[in-house]
């Protein structure tokens, strides 16, 4: 499956439509596998959706003592298999993105499996379908690049750990990797002034794809 998620936090309006839609997917029966957080409500209305990044070498699966977390041939990291999951929560603690949640009613680790029941049949995941802004979109790399001014990045550096993911983050810079601590969101705040001067030039030049 060449399609994947592209997450563009800049666009997220915190509406949690994705969260509501995720519950509609019949495999996890009303539970949502996607989370939306305010970054710092005191400072800004900025919000950020979190889905499983579907790591190429998933830490969650590597630390699972019961081998309950499987990666399928499309690179989708599945939820823990119910007969195997030991309730140990290693995966919950180990995932660098804070994705898996432990469901104490079902005694099971549950997480986003890229709506595999839908995506394997050519449908979009519910969350990315409904997202009003395109903060969360689903498609191929080739489809998204010409549509956006932001850039898809799928390499993440957490201290000494470098993680490559099937899912991409859309960044407004030339960075090729996301380095946690280097301030993806600090960048957003300082960019305001730059954007304003950029804006006038932009409008004056008007050399845009939509000229007619």
């Amino acid at each position: 499956m060449k399609e994947t998620f592209f997450i563009d936090p800049q666009r997220c309006i915190g509406c949690r439509s994705c969260v509501a839609a995720c519950r509609e997917c019949s495999t996890h029966k009303g539970y949502s596998m996607i989370y939306v957080d305010y970054i710092d409500r005191g400072e800004s209305t900025a919000t950020m959706p979190t889905v499983c990044m579907h790591c190429t070498e998933p830490t969650c699966a590597l630390v699972c003592p019961a081998d309950a977390i499987k990666v399928n041939e499309d690179g989708v990291v599945m939820s823990a298999l119910k007969p195997r999951c030991l309730d140990c929560r290693n995966c919950v603690n180990a995932c660098p993105f804070g994705v898996p949640k432990y469901n104490s009613e079902m005694h099971l680790q549950m997480k986003c499996d890229m709506c595999y029941d839908r995506t394997s049949e050519g449908l979009k995941p519910m969350c990315a379908s409904v997202c009003p802004t395109g903060a969360l979109s689903f498609g191929t790399y080739e489809q998204i690049v010409p549509l956006r001014r932001t850039k898809p990045v799928n390499a993440h550096v957490f201290g000494n750990q470098k993680v490559e993911t099937k899912v991409y983050l859309m960044l407004p810079t030339d960075d090729t990797e996301v380095s946690i601590g280097c301030g993806v969101f600090e960048g957003r705040v300082t960019a305001q002034n730059e954007r304003e001067s950029w804006m006038e030039a932009q409008v004056e030049e008007s050399n845009k794809s939509n000229e007619f």
Binding site: R11, S32, G42, S44, T45, P132, E196, E204
Partner: protein, 736 residues
């Protein structure tokens, strides 16, 4: 009569209760028997959606990709809307209040009581003693019917609708400037604008799916100038944010246009050939230098200059606005001041050049076209125009002398209840105890009525005061058309039967009309019959639907009005060649800045403003019952800037009393840098002690009669020691 009665027992019986699961629970093995394409019941994006039907119940929703406006997208209200349909709070039977509590009645009993009370009221106090207050979340067929029912059924002059609280300033401004009341462009024009000026519109939260077009414009290299007292998600995402003081829009718009004039960026040719009254307007504009405007608005002069240059220099551009500029005692002036910018730069009438208002209610546009407004007849005709009156009476077969004169707007209607002129109220799908300003006065109005009938499908804060409550239908139990915010007429389809003894609103109104002895004017059998009548009555009017059929709407994914002929397409973009005034020209209107009716003073030192959040719809009567939506934001809060909070010693989450000259309420503080230090904000979707409208000022715009929801003077007071539950979910959690 008109008293709330056993308040707690009514709340216990009819809610709001939270409900959060499809019928039969969250089952993986559904046997879906029908997939019904329709549209969202809420805001005027009117997103397309597919409803999944199992055993006669709507049990889920699927994105609908074939509808070009949303292409599968939905906001959280849209995703969860289907949970209304089998909600345990639904009203299933007619209810008559006895000894303070509602008791189940038969339709026969309820209708007979209504008709005898209506007749008694009119015999004793005259025809105008009955008021009709209608809604805009209804199909256009129903809104048309309400106008006809008031005038031809009851013969009362007093009818108005809740769009009066929403977009009438835009409507009045559009009529004055352009001669017609409709958005100038389809939203598909937005991506072609170099610059968007978004004034008083938090599109992200109030109109979420419109963001699809806004971001396409950004992806094409366009920029956004956002004008808002708060750093809303829309303002945060914009390129330039002008964070003005609430109520100072005329000064800001004049300041921006002053820059455009001084930079030589006006379109002289357009002004000369297609507009009137520029010179007089220009004389006013010249006084509002960026410095003058900055002094009034609190926006730095450099930002005003930048906004003027960016909008003025761009080849294409659009202005979008919403309640932020419209909900003022100078709302019409605000709208016209922004329209001046559009006209002076000639940015209207082609792709990427245009103007539009963001309509809050699902059918805000259709609901203000066919005669449920106090002064309006079908087809955007005027009650005050003898030709129009004659024309409509001719079609209805109503003797001209029986057609009442124009009535008054809703806030004035509620004054007339307290004064004893209106003694009986028939109210359909609205919730004045949340939505009208100064709710304490509204309560007095309802309590002063002799008799009050309310039709709805949930018991609202207002319906609790009624003597008779009749169970109507939810949006997917009936069919008809709505018109979205761009002027596209859409078809709402029926997915299921109404529950128990609930009946379609049009059936209820028809029954009352027949029993009042006015049956000859209400011969229709179905909503389609009503639509066919709208086609006839609107023909030749401004909002001409004559060429629109239900079949065409389905086939073409909506038809834009005006559409006079069946064999020609509707009109997507207005003003390509001419405006709608008789001479074909648009009209400038210049205004001096005038402050809000109430400005801060020593006693009330802050500016109070109100608005919406993404998880609730209008008065919340539908959305405050959906568990998922309520969990996202369980209660209203007051946004306070950290500097202001520090002055009063208030910390985040602490309870605060907010007070104005009208009333007060207690709210938890949300201490955020995203608001101006001189301003506080409360979302208005809640009722009773949580109502923001206990505080707002009921003063009206003299033209549109819209209340000044967006600016009044207020004070805050720390309530020692009490802390509140978290007002918004800020942490990840498993949400069920």
């Amino acid at each position: 009569m008109g008293k709330v009665g056993k308040f707690q027992e009514i709340v216990d019986a009819f809610g709001p209760h939270l409900h959060d699961e499809p019928k039969g629970g969250w089952s993986a093995n559904r046997e879906i028997e029908a997939i019904v394409p329709t549209h969202c019941p809420y805001c005027a994006v009117q997103c397309g959606m597919n409803l999944l039907v199992e055993k006669g119940s709507v049990v889920g929703v699927e994105p609908r990709y074939d509808f070009p406006v949303n292409e599968g997208r939905l906001c959280p209200k849209g995703v969860t809307a289907y949970l209304q349909t089998h909600h345990p709070d639904r009203l299933h039977y007619p209810l008559i209040k006895r000894k303070g509590m509602f008791e189940r009645a038969t339709w026969e009993e309820a209708l007979n009581l209504i008709v005898s009370k209506f007749k008694e009221s009119q015999e004793k106090h005259g025809k105008d003693s009955i008021g009709v207050y209608s809604g805009s979340s209804l199909t256009t067929e129903k809104t048309y019917l309400m106008g006809k029912f008031a005038r031809a059924g009851l013969g009362t002059r007093y009818i108005d609708y809740n769009g009066r609280l929403c977009m009438v300033s835009a409507a009045a401004g559009n009529n004055k400037a352009f001669g017609v009341d409709r958005a100038a462009n389809p939203w598909s024009d937005i991506p072609f604008a170099d610059v968007l000026m978004i004034a008083g519109a938090n599109c992200a939260e109030t109109f979420p799916v419109l963001n699809k077009f806004l971001w396409e414009q950004r992806d094409n290299g366009g920029v956004w100038i956002v004008i808002d007292p708060r750093e809303t998600p829309t303002a945060r995402q914009g390129d330039l944010h002008l964070q003005l003081k609430p109520g100072t829009d005329v000064a800001l718009a004049n300041g921006i246009l002053n820059v455009i004039v001084n930079e030589g960026l006006i379109d002289e040719e357009f002004i000369r050939t297609r507009t009137n009254d520029w010179e007089a307007t220009k004389q006013i504009i010249l006084k509002y230098t960026p410095e003058v405007a900055a002094g009034i608005t609190g926006v730095p002069a450099e930002k005003i200059v930048k906004a003027g240059k960016v909008y003025g220099r761009a080849k294409t551009g659009m202005i979008l606005h919403a309640r932020g500029i419209e909900h003022h005692s100078h709302g019409v002036n605000n709208v016209l001041s922004y329209i001046n910018i559009v006209l002076a730069t000639g940015k209207i009438g082609s792709r990427g050049r245009g103007y539009g208002t963001i309509t809050g209610q699902g059918n805000g546009q259709g609901g203000r076209e066919h005669g449920q407004k106090a002064d309006q007849l079908p087809g955007q005709r005027s009650m005050l125009n003898p030709e129009h009156r004659k024309h409509i009476c001719g079609i209805w077969g109503l003797p001209e002398e029986e057609l009442p004169q124009a009535g008054v707007s809703v806030v004035e209607m509620f004054d007339k209840m307290r004064e004893g002129e209106i003694r009986t109220l028939l109210s359909l799908c609205n919730n004045v105890m949340v939505s009208l300003p100064d709710t304490n006065k509204v309560r007095e109005s309802l309590e002063s009525l002799d008799f009050y009938v309310h039709i709805d499908f949930f018991m609202s804060e207002s319906a609790r005061y009624a003597d008779v409550v009749l169970p109507g239908t939810s949006w997917c139990e009936d069919e008809g058309v709505t018109t979205n915010g761009e002027g596209r007429v859409l078809k709402i389809n029926k997915a299921i039967e109404p529950p128990a003894e609930a009946k379609p609103d049009w059936w209820i109104i028809r029954e009352i009309a027949h029993r009042m002895g006015r049956g000859k004017y209400f011969g229709f059998q179905t909503p389609r019959d009503l639509f066919e009548e709208i086609r006839v009555t609107s023909k030749g009017g401004t909002a001409d639907y004559a060429g629109i059929t239900w079949e065409r709407i389905e086939k073409e994914n909506g038809v834009f009005w005006p559409c006079p002929c069946e064999d020609k397409p509707g009109t997507e973009r207005l003003f390509e060649e001419r405006f709608y005034h008789p001479d074909g020209r648009a009209k400038f209107h210049g205004f001096e800045f005038a402050p809000a009716a109430e400005t801060p003073d020593d006693e009330y030192p802050l500016i109070f403003t109100s608005g919406r959040i993404v998880h609730q719809y209008l008065s919340g009567n539908q959305t405050r019952r959906i568990g998922f939506l309520v969990k996202q934001c369980p209660e209203p809060y007051v946004e306070i800037h950290p500097d202001t909070a520090a002055r009063y010693g208030i910390t985040d989450g602490e309870r605060v009393r907010v007070r104005s000259r009208r009333g007060s309420g207690e709210f938890p503080a949300l201490v955020v840098k995203t608001i101006r230090p001189d301003t506080i904000f409360i979302p208005y979707h809640w009722g009773e002690t949580q109502a923001a409208n206990q505080i707002t000022n009921p003063v009206l715009d003299p033209i549109s009669k819209i209340p000044e929801y967006k600016a009044c003077a207020a004070q805050i007071e720390k309530l020692s020691g009490e802390r509140s539950v978290v007002t918004q979910i800020t942490q990840s959690e498993v949400v069920k």
